[in-house]
């Protein structure tokens, strides 16, 4: 069993992903070939040098790069039980995020989203006893209703408005806003 599997490095700092796991993720990430429409993420994400990441960067990291490495390290039969549980919990979140970001959505998929996000939250509370439930967790539990009422995320997400505002700001308006 290698150190990344055992999670020894993380136990001393309290971090879930220790330096060894992060290095394994960075190494796999450098080899991953993504379609051109997927935004590449900084090669040194998660370090103090890199600093903050965009929401889209986090989505790509959590739905593509982390599962590829983490399932290999923590998904085997020989992995410690707590790692397996944490992997299962994280993958519940990944499934929920993947469904919430679909370009088209059905009632069945919304129910599936609710199933995964409830299971994620239940697991989160039992696995991470010291972690606090934040408003974003609460909001995520209601997101099924929003999908049901307003359709896929991109139809009501702020990304469209942000892009539209950016597009308008780039127009020549002779310094007179509203023109």
């Amino acid at each position: 069993m290698n150190p990344a599997q055992s999670g020894k490095a993380s136990s001393t700092t309290g971090a879930i992903l220790g330096k060894d796991v992060m290095e394994a993720i960075w190494a796999d990430m450098a080899l991953t070939e993504l379609p051109s429409w997927v935004t590449a993420v900084p090669y040194n994400w998660g370090t103090a040098v890199r600093g903050k990441l965009s929401a889209n960067n986090w989505r790509v990291i959590c739905t593509i790069h982390i599962p590829i490495t983490l399932i290999r390290l923590w998904g085997g039969d020989d992995a410690p039980e707590d790692r397996k549980d944490k992997l299962q919990n994280f993958m519940d979140l990944v499934c929920a995020v993947q469904i919430a970001n679909l370009r088209s959505i059905s009632k069945k998929e919304i129910e599936l989203y609710e199933h995964y996000i409830h299971r994620y939250m239940t697991g989160f509370k039992s696995l991470y006893k010291l972690a606090k439930v934040k408003p974003i967790h609460h909001a995520a539990l209601h997101y099924g209703d929003i999908l049901r009422d307003f359709g896929p995320a991109h139809t009501h997400g702020a990304a469209f408005y942000e892009r539209y505002i950016h597009s308008m700001q780039t127009q020549n308006h002779n310094m007179r806003l509203g023109m």
């Binding site: 399932i71 499934c95 993947q98 998929e109």
Partner: protein, 253 residues
């Protein structure tokens, strides 16, 4: 508010006045694409037909005349006979009752399918990795199991199109794009347990496959499901590929 109102007026102007539309045709095309950007894939878009986006599109100026290698022509003949449940197509002129397919094709290096760009491996490798429905080898069904592979050639064949489509250049858009794909080899059985640990998470976990390629196969564009992210891994000394489907419309695996 003012900008929304102006946008509405501009749309009305472009749709009602053919003269204006003709004059600014290039602008109108770009503007329509921009407007349709965020409604693509929604039910509202399909109901209201906000977008005129076609399932498949390509740049006709990039088409190149070319001759298919005989091995690929044979595969195309097999595919067409299976697709149309016939023995009509042939690669040789020996049998006068059958229709001999010419190796002359128009090749293309990239095309857009449901708004997503795919390309051949020679043009842009990262856009050539796909998840597709492979024809079943011992069945008349042309869509079978999901497989992953790399697009090596993409081409149009005028002989297998409807006669009307040949008359009108515009109707090229309605033709099938035939894709020559090299599927990735199956995984060695001793790594099945690792593969299962990925497959357990279905669309979110992906799966493993061998790094080598299997023989080419031909499919048409409707068999393509989505792009995949490909990561070369070394597990227990074996070189494998991790395949993660990148479908944003539905989760398939």
């Amino acid at each position: 508010m003012r900008s929304s109102s102006r946008e509405g007026k501009l749309r009305a102007l472009l749709s009602d006045h053919s003269e204006v539309r003709e004059y600014v045709s290039e602008l109108a095309k770009t503007y329509e694409a921009f407007l349709a950007e965020d409604v693509r894939g929604t039910r509202l878009a399909h109901m209201a037909q906000v977008t005129q986006e076609q399932d498949v599109a390509f740049d006709e100026t990039r088409l190149r005349d070319s001759n298919l290698p005989h091995a690929i022509l044979l595969l195309l003949v097999q595919f067409l006979n299976k697709k149309h449940r016939t023995t009509l197509y042939s690669s040789s002129s020996d049998d006068s009752t059958r229709r001999m397919l010419s190796p002359r094709v128009k090749t293309l290096d990239k095309f857009s399918l449901r708004g997503v760009e795919y390309s051949t491996t020679g043009y842009r490798t990262r856009n050539s990795h796909v998840l597709f429905r492979a024809p079943m080898s011992n069945s008349s069904e042309i869509s079978g199991n999901l497989e992953s592979g790399q697009i090596t050639h993409a081409f149009l064949h005028s002989q297998v199109s409807a006669p009307r489509a040949q008359e009108d250049e515009q109707r090229l858009h309605h033709l099938s794009i035939y894709l020559c794909i090299q599927p990735y080899a199956p995984l060695e059985p001793e790594l099945n347990d690792v593969d299962q640990s990925y497959r357990r998470f279905e669309f979110a976990g992906g799966f493993l496959s061998g790094r080598e390629f299997q023989p080419h196969m031909i499919v048409d564009h409707s068999s393509v499901v989505s792009h995949v992210a490909v990561t070369p891994l070394e597990i227990r000394g074996s070189k494998v590929l991790h395949i993660l489907p990148m479908d944003r419309v539905s989760f398939t695996l």
